[in-house]
């Protein structure tokens, strides 16, 4: 796709959990728990509050289509503040310090006086009905020339357990929200900026790592399209796919818009009741439905069923809108006959609706209220098709396509958090922040100072084991040995199901020191790590792999093996080295260094030849 010609504009919002000792506005630890460990449940309702203009925010209104009772799980690691039963504490200075450090790394201007706000969120994920958030810095730059608009420090929401039940362990963990300007123009650029910001975040060594600790929201639009926010992209490598599929969707929707207008397509104001038409149908869903509504979309034939994104049709979009009313989905004549609905059913339906061959009829089934609500939603989405691309918040689907979630929230849903006093940020405070070395700089330094290759240097700099690596090198271990052990060896072990994460740094470094000094064979390292992960101490682990082999022991073993295979060796000459080496290694693996074995064997073979 020619993204420049299409006028692609994209921006990202990155949400990163901070690894602080306490939460942002209470003194609870930032620890996630198993729901089995919960201590109690709290049951609450939330009500939308009305603004001075007499309106309820459109995104909030969509969440409140029905009154819901929310359930919250509490733990011995949560308190009355998460329960919304105690006012918040002052903002956690540790979190603010991390935020300011990142702001400084991104060359941003820090706000003179930080004001905490309440952002209305009434989907139940925040017990007070709002999320506390504060703008702390503005106008920075990421990488080459992408402008960072703002950094906000906010509270993480509670985790949904199921339905309207939430777990309070996650709520209140400090979250840094970094918003870029819409300055990216290709999918690859979006991935690069996201990766750069992620690298800056990790450079502090004070952000949480692991699943769900960093989330990207991507804002995408093309010329004549609309701003679409796709929430919750967790995997960086999926970003280009998400962007390209969204561009594809918007291009398809614009083509549909043009085609509808050239066909002179039109929509009625409401659907009609066709419940009686399906009394004798073979479709199980329709047969048991209390009410079936249909609507004739004039001039829409072939368009509702047209793919606009891999696996998604215009019909899928209509279906997402209809589902807000509680129905399971929709049927449309572009995909019928199917699902037990026969040719005769379709013919009767088309006739009842007065539909011609250019038209598409949409069906919805449910209770009377659900069906009539759903048919209006289908019509509403149908009308948007004439305009092109509706502004929406969407959620990412596993392969990179996306589904409708709700309208874009209005800007008008933020008011001051009066329980938290403003915080003045002085120049001295910002000047006093000591910047950590960026991971990218650190990788370059490793390459320069330790002579390890570029890829390995980058991988070690970005890995969880960076600190262990630096300690090991400081202890005099060869950087290449340390890097290989901490990256390749441990990764291979984890593929075998061995969890090395609990192995103590000191044990690890001591082991590598022994290898460095020749006391332990390099080859023994995986088995020793395996034993360490199993809970043995270092000496026990080394012992378990087998007693060390002296060079004298090795020489007699090699001589014996060479002697037994003398015919073979004479026949092959030095080419026999490889096969025989394999036999020797089987006996001594892990107990003596491979290089030593090879030297001894070479000498022994040369003696025969």
């Amino acid at each position: 796709m020619d993204y420049e010609a299409l006028g692609l504009t994209a921006g990202i919002e990155i949400h990163q959990q901070l690894d602080t000792r306490e939460k942002l506005f209470c003194r609870c630890p930032t620890r996630l728990r198993n729901i089995e460990e919960r201590t109690a449940e709290i049951h609450r309702y939330l009500r939308p509050t009305v603004s001075e203009m007499g309106v309820i925010d459109r995104a909030a209104a969509e969440e409140m289509k029905q009154t819901r009772l929310f359930t919250y799980y509490t733990y011995d690691t949560t308190c009355l503040i998460e329960n919304d039963d105690e006012p918040p504490t002052p903002m956690n200075p540790e979190a603010l310090d991390i935020g300011l450090t990142i702001a400084k790394l991104l060359s941003m201007t820090v706000i003179d006086q930080v004001h905490t706000m309440r952002k209305m969120v009434i989907d139940g994920s925040n017990t007070p009905g709002f999320q506390r958030t504060a703008l702390i810095a503005m106008n920075g730059v990421a990488g080459n020339d992408c402008r960072i608009e703002s950094i906000c420090l906010e509270e993480e929401a509670a985790q949904r357990v199921a339905g309207n039940t939430f777990s309070l362990d996650r709520m209140g963990i400090p979250l840094l929200e970094i918003t870029t300007a819409p300055c990216m123009h290709t999918p690859e650029e979006v991935r690069e900026v996201a990766a750069y910001i992620g690298m800056v975040l990790r450079s502090t060594g004070r952000v949480k790592r692991g699943l769900g600790t960093i989330r990207q929201d991507v804002n995408i639009s093309i010329a004549e399209g609309a701003r679409i926010e796709i929430k919750g992209v967790q995997d960086l490598d999926l970003i280009p796919e998400v962007v390209s599929r969204e561009v594809q969707r918007q291009v398809s929707l614009l083509a549909i818009r043009d085609e509808l207008s050239s066909r002179g397509a039109s929509l009625p104001d409401d659907g009609i009741d066709v419940t009686d038409l399906f009394r004798e149908t073979k479709s199980k869903v329709l047969k048991k439905a209390r009410s079936i509504m249909a609507v004739n979309l004039k001039g829409f034939a072939g368009i509702v069923g047209r793919e606009i994104q891999p696996g998604r049709r215009l019909g899928s979009e209509m279906s997402d809108y209809a589902k807000k009313c509680g129905v399971g989905g929709i049927f449309h004549t572009d995909e019928l006959p199917a699902y037990g609905i026969t040719d005769e059913d379709v013919a009767a339906l088309k006739e009842a609706c007065g539909a011609g061959s250019d038209d598409c009829v949409v069906l919805v089934a449910g209770t009377a209220a659900e069906a009539s609500c759903a048919i209006l939603q289908v019509l509403s989405r149908g009308r948007m098709a004439f305009e092109g691309v509706p502004e929406e918040t969407r959620k990412m689907l596993p392969e990179g396509s996306s589904a409708y979630m709700r309208p874009l929230p209005g800007a008008a849903r933020m008011y001051p958090e009066t329980d938290v006093l403003p915080i003045a940020l002085s120049r001295e405070m910002v000047d006093g922040i000591v910047l950590p070395e960026l991971l990218s700089d650190r990788a370059a330094r490793f390459r320069r100072e330790y002579g390890i290759d570029e890829d390995l240097a980058r991988r070690i700099a970005y890995s969880d084991r960076l600190i262990t690596f630096e300690k090991a090198v400081l202890a005099g271990i060869k950087p290449s040995l340390a890097a290989r052990t901490l990256l390749s060896t441990m990764r291979e072990l984890s593929r075998d199901g061995v969890d090395c994460s609990d192995i103590d740094d000191d044990q690890c470094i001591l082991l590598l020191t022994r290898v460095n000094e020749g006391g332990v064979a390099k080859e023994a390292v995986p088995d020793i790590l395996r034993a360490l992960a199993g809970g043995l101490d270092l000496d026990g682990a080394i012992e378990s792999v087998g007693p060390a082999f002296s060079v004298a022991d090795l020489e007699s073993l090699v001589d014996r093996i060479v002697d037994e295979r003398s015919d073979f060796i004479r026949e092959r000459g030095m080419a026999a080295l490889g096969p025989v080496m394999g036999i020797v290694m089987k006996e001594v693996r892990g107990r003596i260094d491979g290089q030593v074995v090879s030297d001894v064997l070479k000498r022994s073979i040369q003696k025969i030849l």
Binding site: S51, Q113, A412
Partner: protein, 408 residues
């Protein structure tokens, strides 16, 4: 610059549009387009234009004239408020229409008259205001309403409710209500508390009561007798507890079913009467180890003094002379206990017997705050020492219970 003006802020050389809100600690507070407020040095803020006046859409509220009439009297505790997202300001609302607009379910229960005798934070409440409040409630009952709801800040709600208990003989329920979480937040307890209060005001009850969340859940409210209720937590929704007794009733939510207990005073059991005189020169002091007896001298102008003593109702013997002196100067002294739960008994130990001899009145199982309010009221009714003593020791509005029940 004034609130609502359109301004432009220069941040690292880039202009950002916003709305001027106010000045705070030498900083200009500006609401940016994104909705965030920031504090910024005033010299970085440039005036761009006058703020737009936004017409406030107020959909009309139609009250159903077939429903019973209730009176909502606001004292400053807000049960309805509205957020201005433009400036972020929260304004409280107290007209009947505002309240029904904020809590639409109220419209299905009744029609509403509203009054606002004053609007204060409940920590600024004074006994003179109890009199104004009692008169307002009296007039509303006289006007024939089905029940009264008084919205009140939670800090001193129990004092005010208790005061009205003594000043007012009421044939209809007078329900005090407030919220622990402010009404502008989606999670506020205001709506449920108010709905339950109106249900209680509609019920077969005839006394002054406090209606608040019974648990941390949005499941039911407890209706407490005004003279036996106390705020026992600084922030929880279920801060209000009946002490030494069970709540008079419960109201479930959201179905608003009122369950009355036998101890409740029924509707129309009492004729309407107002006794609106109080002696304000009264004090409540706790005794503590090392207390300087001179503190008593500072109370020499008091006509009544309630002491929250230790245990069964004690104070250190070093205080005895001061007590005798106060008594001789004509001050009525009532002993209660800082234990809150239980009954004072000054006959068990010597200290207690000395206090009795000095003329201190045993406060029985009255809560210290209730004893203070009652003493103000009793001293407002009579100057006769014997009569004062009799009234203080007699149960007038459920403040004294003859028996201490196990399990409460």
């Amino acid at each position: 610059m004034k609130t609502g003006d359109q301004v432009s802020c220069t941040i690292s050389g880039i202009a950002v549009d916003g709305i001027y809100i106010t000045e705070r600690d030498g900083m200009a507070v500006v609401k940016l387009k994104s909705g965030y407020n920031i504090g910024i040095h005033p010299h970085q803020v440039a005036f761009q234009g006058d703020g737009e006046e936004l017409a406030v859409a107020e959909p009309p509220v139609v009250q159903d004239t077939r429903l019973p009439v209730f009176s909502i009297i606001s004292t400053g505790g807000t049960i309805a408020s509205r957020v201005d997202y433009r400036t972020g300001a929260v304004t409280s609302r107290s007209t009947a229409d505002d309240i029904v607009r904020a809590i639409p379910e109220l419209g299905a229960i009744g029609q509403y008259r509203t009054r606002q005798p004053f609007s204060i934070l409940s920590e600024n409440m004074r006994p003179a205001m109890w009199i104004d409040l009692a008169r307002a409630v009296y007039e509303e009952i006289e006007a024939g309403v089905r029940g009264i709801v008084v919205t009140h800040g939670t800090d001193t709600m129990a004092y005010s409710a208790s005061a009205l208990s003594f000043m007012l003989d009421t044939p209809v329920p007078v329900i005090f209500v407030g919220s622990q979480r402010s009404a502008d937040r989606p999670s506020s307890d205001n709506a449920m508390n108010t709905l339950c209060s109106v249900a209680a005001a509609d019920a077969d009850l005839g006394e002054v009561l406090v209606c608040m969340h019974a648990t941390s859940d949005d499941d039911y409210c407890a209706v407490h007798r005004a003279t036996r209720v106390r705020k026992m937590h600084t922030s929880r929704r279920d801060a209000f507890k009946s002490i030494g007794t069970e709540p008079v009733a419960t109201v479930t939510y959201p179905d608003l079913q009122v369950k009355r207990r036998d101890v409740a005073v029924r509707r129309d059991a009492t004729d309407l009467a107002l006794h609106d005189t109080l002696e304000e020169r009264c004090a409540l002091i706790p005794y503590y180890p090392g207390m300087d007896p001179a503190i008593l001298d500072a109370h020499s102008s008091c006509r009544g003094l309630v002491i929250a003593g230790t245990g069964l109702g004690h104070i250190g013997s070093s205080m005895l002379d001061g007590i005798r002196q106060l008594k001789a100067d004509g001050t009525t002294i009532v002993m209660t206990s800082q234990c809150l739960h239980g009954r004072v008994c000054s006959r068990v130990y010597n200290t207690g017997r000395d206090l009795l001899q000095a003329g201190v009145i045993e406060g029985d199982d009255m809560l210290p705050e209730t004893a203070l309010v009652k003493l103000m009221w009793v001293l407002g009714q009579t100057d006769e020492p014997q009569e004062i003593s009799r009234l203080m020791q007699e149960n007038l509005k459920g403040e004294i219970q003859r028996r201490s029940l196990y399990g409460l």
